[in-house]
Amino acid sequence: MSSPTGKSAERATGPGAHAAGSPDTPRGRSRRTLPSPLRHLLFAALGLAAVTGLLLVTGDLTALRLAAVGYTMLAVAGLQLLVGGSGQVSLGHGAFMMIGAYTMTLLVLHQPMLPIAANLLIIVAVSAVAGIAVGAATARLHGPYLAGATLILAVGLPGLTHRYHEFLGGSNGLNIRTAGAPPFLQGVFTDSEWKALVVWTTVVIGLAVLATISSGRLGRRMRSLRDDETAAAMAGVPVGKTKVVAFVIASAAGGLGGGLQAYVLGTATPSSFTLVLSLTLLAALVFGGIGSLWGALWAAVTVVYLQIWATDLARSLELGRNVENNLPVVFFGIVLILVLRFWPLGLHGALTRLGARLRPPTTR
């Protein structure tokens, strides 16, 4: 569907992240002559065009699902930079989505005149600040200790909505109404399609930024940290600073994803940012393939569509409410375990290997 976007990402992280195929085909070399931000923006534009085309030929329901794929993908891509890039395992990514979502609803409620672009920029700023706070506090933690600390964040943060009930709406959360398509596009796009378009515009820009970071010096520094912290420090990489920066970028991407979710769904409730969300994001990332931004795409598609299919399946089999409510989670868990059992590099790893096998051997 939106493969061009993903392709830019793959170019960016491919060589450094995992030993996939042969990146130095002639085609690849000619592409590399473009400066990296420009190349990523070009692919972003192509991706956006593809999504727009898809939106125009499909209906409202698909638009909402595509939007869900978009914001999930952005959040997972941020996590990819953090976990796959710098090697810090965060179990609290949902907390940053929650910060983004609540920032969005509060902005719409209290500053209704601000345009959506301004809202999104403010969300990036707010979640980046939250990321600095958490990242600086946890910069000394490593491995399972960091995972434990972020896990607590994911569980603890929703409790704040009960503490500040008047301001954050308690367990009912906050509801907003966001504007649909502007008047001159009323006939072309429905409101849902317009929202999906806004989401994907933001997502492709965000992905282009992430891909640029990942292919640049910062990305290289992060990967050096992931592989060997001591060696990286010896080579002059500022360890603490790079870790915090990775955390901040991931938080900003997560926050933006959450903000877009609130924009599409028109609501932010503590019950949608549970521990399960954070775990699902990380699990989906590993499932999709941790080594490249492509993985984020497979992850997002899987999370969104597996949920829908499993719910449909349970409904059509008429298995009762208990089974129906729990089938998506069980289904996801089983698929996750099986994929990791048989394809340790995730879906993207499996696809890369398949591609390498299909390619004629002369190009190697």
Partner: protein, 283 residues
Amino acid sequence: MTHFINLTLNGLATGAAYAALALSLVIIYQATRLVNFAQPALALVAVYTAYTVTGITGSYWLGFAAALTAGLVAGAAVERFVIRPIARVSQLNAIIVTLGLLLVVQGLVGMVWGNEQHGFRYAFSYVGRFAPSSVFALVSVGAVALLLFALYRFTPLGLRMRAAAFHPEAARLSGVRVGLMLTAGWAIASCIGALAGMLAGPPFISPNVFDVVFVYGITAAVIGGLDNPFGAVVGGLLIGLGMSYVSGYAGPELATLTALAIVVVVLSVRPDGILSRPTARKV
């Protein structure tokens, strides 16, 4: 003052459950260098087994025994059939698989018993200050910690388990069946996890009942040092006390974030937990 004493006693009793869960995490971490996020799921299986058995037979203690057995079996099965094939490949993948397992088991429990809450009995009366059930929690966890210490220190099985964790290759050369020892470690850990579930479950159980307990358990394990069983017990009691004071004086919503603050502060001062020994490394 009475309020303070009540909070202290309550904190110790809940802390016992956190300590048990932390202990089960630490045993598995020592054996396989893996934080077992499926631990609450295993405890969930155990507790729902107890719920069913108690419902059928009417005896709490039959249910209790069934829970511990279920924990033991589930832990061994998970290690043998799910973790071992994957842990060989990648550490991160093994962690993610325990997460997947958590999702699957929580979902399955919800499918079988429903997502709604069920009433669940305490072992003893829970009325009054320092009720029998609280005493039971503290005593049972203390006994488990001592038994564990004795197992590791004085029995051949414990020696083999330590050897398998410390240096798998050398242990294998001297005839220790390393795989079997790992399975044994997981079984013992899950059995203790089941005990934690039986202590922390009442008065109501639901598929998500252990999420928060698990968070405090992992907090306890982390501040005690993931490598140290005694650290886990101390950490559990400390977290129990801390959460009890925070909930009593400041409000229960802040308890989890306080736990985060405690973790960050403790680990900034001692990156490997309170009871860690500084590790010397040859360069």
